[in-house]
């Protein structure tokens, strides 16, 4: 009789140990469960993905709504409310802040590159933006070659600037000068004051700049793209459970149609920055969804 209890007791200890060791597999998931808080990095002016709405003084946008879904799913996993603690990040701080643990994940509009992948981990790609130019409607720019001999601008440290520099170095077009600005609004100012004739960044951000201008109809984004930029969320390296959870959140949102609802809300025809969803992008989204079951968030 005593022996039976001992065996049962030992098995219980073993089982508990197993549960504990599997829970310890991922530092980030562990930390979120213990603290009930997920630390999120958002951009301040990445319209419409993550930006501060001056009316409410809070971060809003497509990626911020996705963060809401993530917190909701995490809540279901741990059986308690998971709160979002928002942090503001800049292009310069977003990767170091994830790496040093200040934030668990950055959800904004970060371009996924191999060099960045060497330093951190990334979620699945959730959006594709095109690098193009904002020009005056009456400028008659139809192809990249039309920008030869003109002054073009881009913000310092962006992949857009790099794309222009690379194309100019390869001789695919010959800009008269490449002007580097500090921020996108300064780029817009340079464009309006005639310092440059074309300003480059992601099409979604250019449309955002255009809509904010006093005369939105004076400007247009070019009908071509010089580079495609896949957007993904930044995570810390070596936390694969958390990464799976983020990816499943994206996939589940696509499967349930929530993703498309959010897209409509921010980038649909009536959204803040209308960007028509291309067929290729829609196909991509539908094709990446692997068989995923309801209640996947359960352990």
């Amino acid at each position: 009789m005593k022996k039976k209890w001992l065996v049962m007791g030992l098995s219980l200890v073993w089982l508990l140990g197993l549960a504990a060791s599997s829970a310890l597999a991922d530092e980030t998931m562990d930390k979120i469960e213990k603290s009930g808080v997920i630390k999120l990095g958002f951009r301040e002016g990445s319209i419409p993905f993550a930006f501060v709405d001056p009316k409410v003084g809070k971060h809003v946008g497509f990626s911020v709504d996705m963060a809401g879904l993530l917190a909701e799913n995490l809540g279901k996993r741990f059986g308690k409310e998971i709160k979002i603690e928002p942090f503001t990040v800049t292009p310069k701080t977003r990767i170091p802040m994830v790496m040093n643990g200040t934030i668990d994940i950055e959800m904004g509009s970060t371009t996924y590159t191999q060099k960045r992948e060497e330093q951190t981990d990334f979620s699945l790609i959730f959006f594709f933006s095109e690098t193009t130019f904002l020009v005056a409607k009456d400028s008659g720019v139809k192809t990249l070659q039309d920008l030869s001999g003109k002054r073009v601008g881009a913000a310092r440290g962006t992949t857009n600037l790099k794309a222009i520099e690379d194309l100019a170095a390869k001789g695919e077009f010959k800009p008269k000068e490449i002007i580097v600005t500090e921020t996108h609004p300064q780029g817009m100012l340079a464009l309006k004051s005639g310092k440059i004739e074309a300003y480059s960044t992601d099409r979604s951000l250019l449309e955002g700049l255009r809509m904010k201008d006093q005369e939105p109809d004076k400007w247009m984004t070019c009908p071509f793209a010089i580079a495609y930029e896949p957007y993904a969320y930044i995570l810390r390296e070596g936390n694969s459970d958390f990464r799976d959870f983020v990816n499943n959140t994206i996939l589940w949102a696509i499967k349930t149609g929530k993703f498309f609802e959010l897209y409509e809300k921010w980038m649909g025809p009536k959204g803040l920055v209308p960007i028509p969803m291309s067929k290729a992008y829609k196909d991509y989204l539908e094709m990446i969804v692997y068989p995923i079951e309801d209640e996947w968030w359960k352990k």
Binding site: K92, I95, M99, K162, I179, V180, T181, G194
Partner: protein, 238 residues
Amino acid sequence: MGLAYNFDWGVLWRQPYGTWLLQGIWLTLKIGFLGWIIALFTGIVIGTLRVTPWRWLRFLAAAYTEVFRNIPFLVQLFFWYYAGPMIFGQYLGRQINQITGLNFYVAIFALGLYTASRVAEHMRAGFASIGRDQYQAVLSTGMTHAQMYRHVIIPYALRIIIPPLTTEFLTIFKNSSIAMTIGVAEITFMSYRIDADTFHGLEATTGAMAIYLLLGLTVVKLMNMLEARFKIPGLIGR
């Protein structure tokens, strides 16, 4: 967790990064020296006007000094680059905006004018340290006011203020890094550019620090040589 960072000092000389840094150094040197020429010349003129017997000139020089030294250089730079051309009206402003390399010229001009206000103040201090007797002695030889300043007082004051001018000369190279904010590709700009390209910002920034330090030490050495040559025995130096 920890900071998973792999140091790679090769970004300081590997291509194209090595060339970027060299180009940055060249631009910093150009902005610093050209800015310094403007600063020294304008500063001497403004500083001298502050002690002339003519009230209106004194007022103008004082106004210049206060405007330029009380506004942060970053703000001045933005103003000259983005708003400056508009002063000349719609048409001329547009022409100015289309000058190739405008940001570079604006940086030199803005840095020179800003530093001039500080040089002017040192000049004033230099003049004040010259005794009344000296002025009277010069005038009694029959020189006019202009001649007095040109041949005696200004050279004399300049020799006295060499130590604070050394600091200003150093500061102009350090302040030139702010030109980065209007897209001038000097050293700091290039180190950030390397960071954006390689994510090895720590190495790039350390490299920039070493370059500035070396540049500064060279300036100090040069100015010390000047000081040894031109100091007024008994007034500065022993």
